[in-house]
């Protein structure tokens, strides 16, 4: 009878499984889970391994001194990288338009006139059609008085543009209803003496004329060529409640494509070059054409080039290899968009720019695992386990399938999908006992990155959005959850979350700094998960399935941190249902959930057949 521990060093967590091997079989004692110290597969892992071993023994109070053997997996370091290339840019030259969406514009309607600075309003003659431009320093009462005086003199005041957040106040103090747009940050840059149109939609509606290319053409008497030139303005102004268009002689809005550099894909038989700007679909098609991918590199000086170089360098450092020996093993491209402030805008306008997100990963066939095993043995002997032996117990993928098969209700052929942070790994345990594996780039970290860029929020906020359901604080005492149900609170909610979209994290309510609705944020979250995990699940299964036929797979067991997510397992299960596959989150040994599969597999490999 001997006390053994199986240890699985993962990218982010180190898991341990303690057991007694007896003549009759295996008696499982306890499990441990701690954060991995250092990069997976390096001697820096020793601290984490010791903590995990102690945690596994602690659950049953088995003494460290009795420890006979520790089995570690053949951990192959996987290093992943992410990069984002923005491939479009919206540019405004000579202040053609103001297209931001202030919360409270004033008045309503559409007005066309010549722009006049507020200070020069006195000089306008009666009957002249004008748009007043009021700088931020002017008090609302003074502004209203000035505009009213102009109206009384018979000046055709058709609209106003304000620097302050005063539109409603001014609109309430003048005798005629005119459209007023406020909070224009760079109001001083609005040119004087130009024809301009101001439109404010009534509450609940969006502007109709300035968001229509022919509407603008009619207002400014444009010919066909000029209308073509102005059409990006109309597109930029759709869906908002108020807008200003100023007609300047050479002003325009343009959608520019930014050169994003090329990506070189090296396959078994061919080398393909593809422009990153062509988008994710074209990139993934190229990856498919060169399959199996041997290596990839981005053009120097671009984000993608920097990312591939950094990933390789990182791996070279970890494993003591030359950079030239390190190869990119897989690449996933995803189309996304990034809200970015429009260059040349006057009011902090934001446009959704197209972007391509790329995840890559490198792995080596073998890391310095022997050194790691030796270091673990030295540490544990010093800490009070004098007789311990550390053994490299098996290949990770085989151990994972062995552990996954302890999930009640599973059988071969079975695929383990390990949904991690940096990579998505799959292993097929065939009916004949063979194991086929594949490692794909793109996992939890890429989901976080997509959410962060599409919502324009910080990484930690995006992490909260990814992990937790959403709600909106509708009063100081109740939340409406994303599924429409309501939760009441006895204690008042803090004013910081009032009327905001919040993530229901384990630490409490975290407000999401966004103007988007709950539905929109939820949509971004779910599509990010779909584009990474569902896409990768299908890619991985196609690679390991017998004859590339998904119908040949009976069971899919989801493991890894992202298998604990509240919706990723169901998204994947939905996508696999048409193939007649049973798919669910693993429950290793009937008790561990999607955790501890490799550690348990290591122990099972010793005791069992």
């Amino acid at each position: 009878m001997s006390l053994v521990v199986g240890v699985d060093i993962g990218n982010s967590t180190t898991e341990a499984c303690a057991a007694r091997l007896t003549g009759n079989g295996i008696e499982f004692l306890g499990s441990g889970l701690v954060p991995t110290t250092g990069t997976k597969g390096t001697t820096a892992n020793v601290d984490g391994v010791e903590a995990a071993v102690r945690a596994a023994l602690r659950t049953t109070r088995a003494p460290l001194g009795e420890l006979a053997r520790v089995f570690v997996n053949e951990a192959t370091p996987v290093i992943s990288g992410l990069a984002m290339e923005t491939i479009t840019e919206t540019l405004i030259t000579e202040s053609t338009m103001i297209g931001h969406d202030p919360r409270t514009p004033g008045g309503a309607g559409l007005g066309v006139g010549i722009t006049v600075p507020f200070a020069a309003l006195d000089e306008c003659s009666p009957g002249e059609a004008v748009i007043a431009v009021v700088p931020a320093g002017v008090d609302f009462a003074v502004a209203a008085k000035g505009l009213e005086a102009a109206l009384e003199r018979g000046v055709g005041l058709r609209g106003a543009v304000l620097g302050n957040d005063d539109a409603v106040l001014v609109a309430n103090r003048i005798s005629r209803v005119i459209p007023i747009v406020d909070e224009v940050r760079l109001v001083d840059a609005v040119p004087a003496g130009m024809t301009a149109a101001v439109e404010v939609a009534s509450p609940g509606r969006t502007i109709r004329t300035l968001s229509n290319a022919y509407g603008i053409a009619g207002l400014f008497s444009l010919d066909a060529d000029q209308t073509r030139a102005i059409s990006p303005v109309a597109r930029a102004l759709t869906g908002i409640r108020s807008a200003v268009v100023v007609r300047t002689p050479s002003g325009e809005v343009s959608d520019r494509r930014i050169p994003a550099g090329t990506l070189e894909l090296r396959g078994g038989s061919a080398v393909l070059r593809i422009d990153v700007g062509e988008g994710a679909e074209a990139i993934m098609a190229a990856v498919g054409r060169v399959a199996p991918l041997d290596d990839a590199s981005g053009e120097a000086g671009t984000n993608v080039g920097g990312m591939t170089a950094a990933v390789k360098q990182n791996m070279a450092d970890v494993c003591g290899l030359e950079v030239a020996q390190v190869r990119i093993g897989d690449l996933l491209a995803v189309d996304t968009f990034v809200p970015q402030e429009v260059r040349g805008g006057l009011a902090g306008e934001v446009a959704l720019e197209n972007a391509v997100a790329l995840a890559t990963m490198v792995r080596t066939s073998h890391g310095p695992m022997r050194q790691v095993a030796r270091a673990i043995a030295e540490r544990l002997r010093r800490e009070g386990a004098p007789d311990v032996e550390v053994v490299i117990g098996g290949v990770e993928a085989e151990m994972a399938t062995r552990g996954a098969l302890t999930t009640p209700g599973t059988d071969r052929p079975l695929v383990v999908l390990d949904l991690g942070g940096g990579s998505t790994d799959a292993a097929l345990a065939g009916a004949d006992g063979t194991v086929t594996t594949v490692h794909l780039a793109g996992a939890g970290d890429l989901v976080t990155r997509l959410i962060a860029s599409e919502l324009g929020v910080e990484r930690d906020v995006a992490e909260n959005v990814k992990r937790s359901p959403l709600a909106r604080a509708e009063s100081f005492f109740h939340l409406r959850l994303e599924d429409g149900t309501v939760r009441f609170f006895g204690e008042p909610l803090p004013p910081t979350v009032f009327a905001r979209v919040v993530a229901l994290t384990e630490q409490g309510l975290v407000p999401i700094p966004t103007r988007h609705s709950v539905d929109r944020v939820r949509d971004v979250r779910r599509t990010a998960k779909q584009r990474v995990f569902v896409v990768n699940a299908l890619r991985a299964l196609a690679r390991v399935a017998p004859y590339r036929d998904l119908r040949q797979i009976g069971f899919v067991v989801l493991l890894g941190g992202s298998a604990l997510d509240f919706e990723i397992p169901e998204l994947i299960a939905d996508a696999l249902a048409p193939y007649g596959i049973v798919c669910g989150t693993g429950n290793v040994r009937g008790s561990e959930g999607p955790r501890n599969a490799v550690a348990s597999g290591l122990v099972l490999a010793q005791g069992g057949p």
Binding site: H100, D101, R103, T104, F140, D165, D166, A167, V168, L169, N172, G239, I240, P339, G348, V350, L352, L455, G456, V457, E474, S475, F476, F477, P492, P495, T496, F498, A499, R500, P511, P513, T514, R515, H516
Partner: protein
């Protein structure tokens, strides 16, 4: 809570220019209000009393020392929506906007959101 037309109540003992900005804040957000002169109490007490009497359950208190408190009738007296000491015209305007936003259910000004579309 009293009956009457829907209004935020402002109980004030304070100075003119701050009161003007508070009222401008509510007006810009499009929420009606009434101003009631009520000297002699601290802002928190004024605001809580105003909120209790407001048909919209929201009150603002401005006391003689210039402190502005925004309150909701269902909140405990010691936990107002916001409290602004030594207000400037800008923060006074924000206090008025916040009072209105509690009514309209819009995020408060204190934690300016990113203005993404």
């Amino acid at each position: 809570m009293s009956s009457g037309p829907p209004r935020i109540l402002v109980f004030t003992a304070g100075t003119g220019h701050l009161l003007r900005e508070i009222c401008a804040g509510m007006e810009e957000e499009g929420v009606p209000y009434d101003v009631v002169a009520s000297p002699g109490h601290p802002a928190e007490q004024l605001a809580h009393e105003a909120a209790r009497r407001s048909p919209l359950e929201v009150g603002v208190g401005l006391d003689a020392t210039g402190v502005i408190v925004v309150h909701h009738s269902k909140l405990p007296r010691g936990k107002p929506v916001s409290r602004t000491e030594a207000p400037t015209p800008t923060t006074a305007r924000h206090a008025g906007q916040d009072a209105a936003r509690v009514v309209t259910g819009a995020p408060l000004t204190r934690h300016p959101e990113k203005e993404n579309p």
